[in-house]
Symmetry: C2
Subunit: 281 residues, 2 copies
């Protein structure tokens, strides 16, 4: 592998216990997922403050730089130093960032879940994405993925209020990341893929969160042909999925799922039933 | 009431039907909530593109301007014209915005659910918030609120993938707004409150979404002493609630809820039970 940045491995407790009162007036413990500010400095220039669970801060910062198109190549980054004491992530590049003013000034804001900021022009880029047409996913693998997620240890199970994202190769879980924001979780996966030079072409991306336009765009940018969600899809998430030709499943729980777009890449466990008229449904 | 802006009443379909395929290979309909870009221009200056369901675009824009502290007073706004054809909201002020460069340049990004942008320094402001100490909520009213939400007609019931926010006075529902982003829904309520010069002091704010730091901050900025969620709380949401002294309930469903902070404003339906040691629990 070519030149890679030096990364800290900063860790921080992900869950806090507090005392609450229930409906009968009884005190009882409750668990909160961490939510911490992490201010990102790019060559000492303050860039953004991300609110994060804190499970994978270095990968989150890498993915943020990548998905915002602030840095073109991983080789340009010399180091990322995360320090929870100062709630900061210092990114050092090897030779500065080209056109940094322009990159941080031009802002297209996409807001699937609020007011998310994306620097640069994502929509233009999307039309250049080519996802592999010959990738296939069968129903047994899809069920294995859903089951693996169900059994996964998670902050969510104890504390709730976080979203999980996962990267699979076939039914093998490669990466599982939770964060208070869906965008952070997907950015952290993108960061890790960038760092390890992983291709998205043979991967499946899973998220517990809703598939808004921004989530679909990010999956497509990672070159991943399959996108699964336990939750639903918005209108523009659907339109983006059609536009980039991604295979999108939502409402995936147990043995249930709905296949929204990109049907040609999915192999049903049984032949497509006939309709009452005798034509394939 | 003093000078108010002229507003369009732009409407747009909130739900789209599409055909999907289920786990048995059967085609079936599914419903998607709308998600549309709405680019906000402040005196012809492009400000931001919000992705929204589109249920209350004028109120959303008002609340966005308010919560980002881009405009100080509602009287300064002459008109908001939303046009779905061009996906734009044109805000016209009566006499320009003071220090507009500075206001839009300084950016504190808070990201409860991703990478949300808040212009200006929210945290400084929070410490100036004073919520009424004598406001009280009793358990019967809390249950009435939860039940009203349960019975409310909603995009969520048909299409899922949206968050709802509501404003109550006692058990009376005053405003109910859904959007693809929690932040948009709360901004739309803030916009309507601003427009109608409503005080938050005797109100209850309800949201289906998680209570991250940003949601707590926004409720406090509206001057609302009670914050309810069907979902959970993050660590910083909890810390912010303690800091501003808001009364925060989460996991509100049916007859269940947890009271996290600001217990002094809540009247339980029955006396606090004694612990095994005989001391009040």
């Amino acid at each position: 592998m070519s030149l890679r940045p030096e990364l800290t491995h900063a860790s921080v407790p992900l869950i806090e216990e507090v005392e609450v009162v229930d409906e009968l007036g009884r005190p009882r413990p409750a668990w909160l997922p961490g939510e911490r500010p992490l201010t990102v400095y790019l060559d000492k220039r303050e860039l953004v403050t991300l609110m994060t669970l804190g499970g994978a801060p270095e990968h989150l910062v890498l993915g943020y730089l990548r998905n915002q198109r602030l840095v073109d190549s991983i080789e340009e980054i010399a180091a990322i130093q995360v320090d929870w004491e100062t709630e900061s992530a210092a990114v050092t590049t090897r030779s500065g960032v080209d056109r940094i003013e322009e990159r941080t000034a031009r802002r297209v804001v996409t807001t699937g879940c609020g007011q998310g900021t994306v620097y640069g022009s994502l929509l233009d880029e999307i039309d250049g994405v080519r996802l592999p047409g010959d990738a296939m996913l069968d129903q047994a693998t899809l069920y294995a993925i859903i089951d693996t997620i169900r059994l996964q240890q998670s902050v969510y199970k104890q504390a709730g209020s976080v979203h999980g994202c996962a990267l699979f190769q076939g039914s093998e879980l490669l990466i599982f990341i939770e964060d208070v924001g869906r965008h952070n979780a997907v950015d952290a996966i993108a960061g890790r893929m960038w760092l390890e030079d992983m291709s998205g072409a043979d991967k499946v991306f899973y998220t517990t969160g809703r598939l808004t336009s921004e989530m679909v765009i990010k999956a497509a940018q990672m070159g991943i042909p399959f996108l699964l969600s336990r939750s639903g899809v918005t209108q523009m998430g659907y339109q983006m999925a059609q536009r980039v030709g991604i295979t999108l499943f939502a409402r995936c729980t147990g043995k249930h799922f709905l296949l929204y777009t990109g049907r040609e890449r999915f192999r049903h466990a049984q032949p497509t039933p006939l309709t009452a008229e005798g034509a394939p449904a």
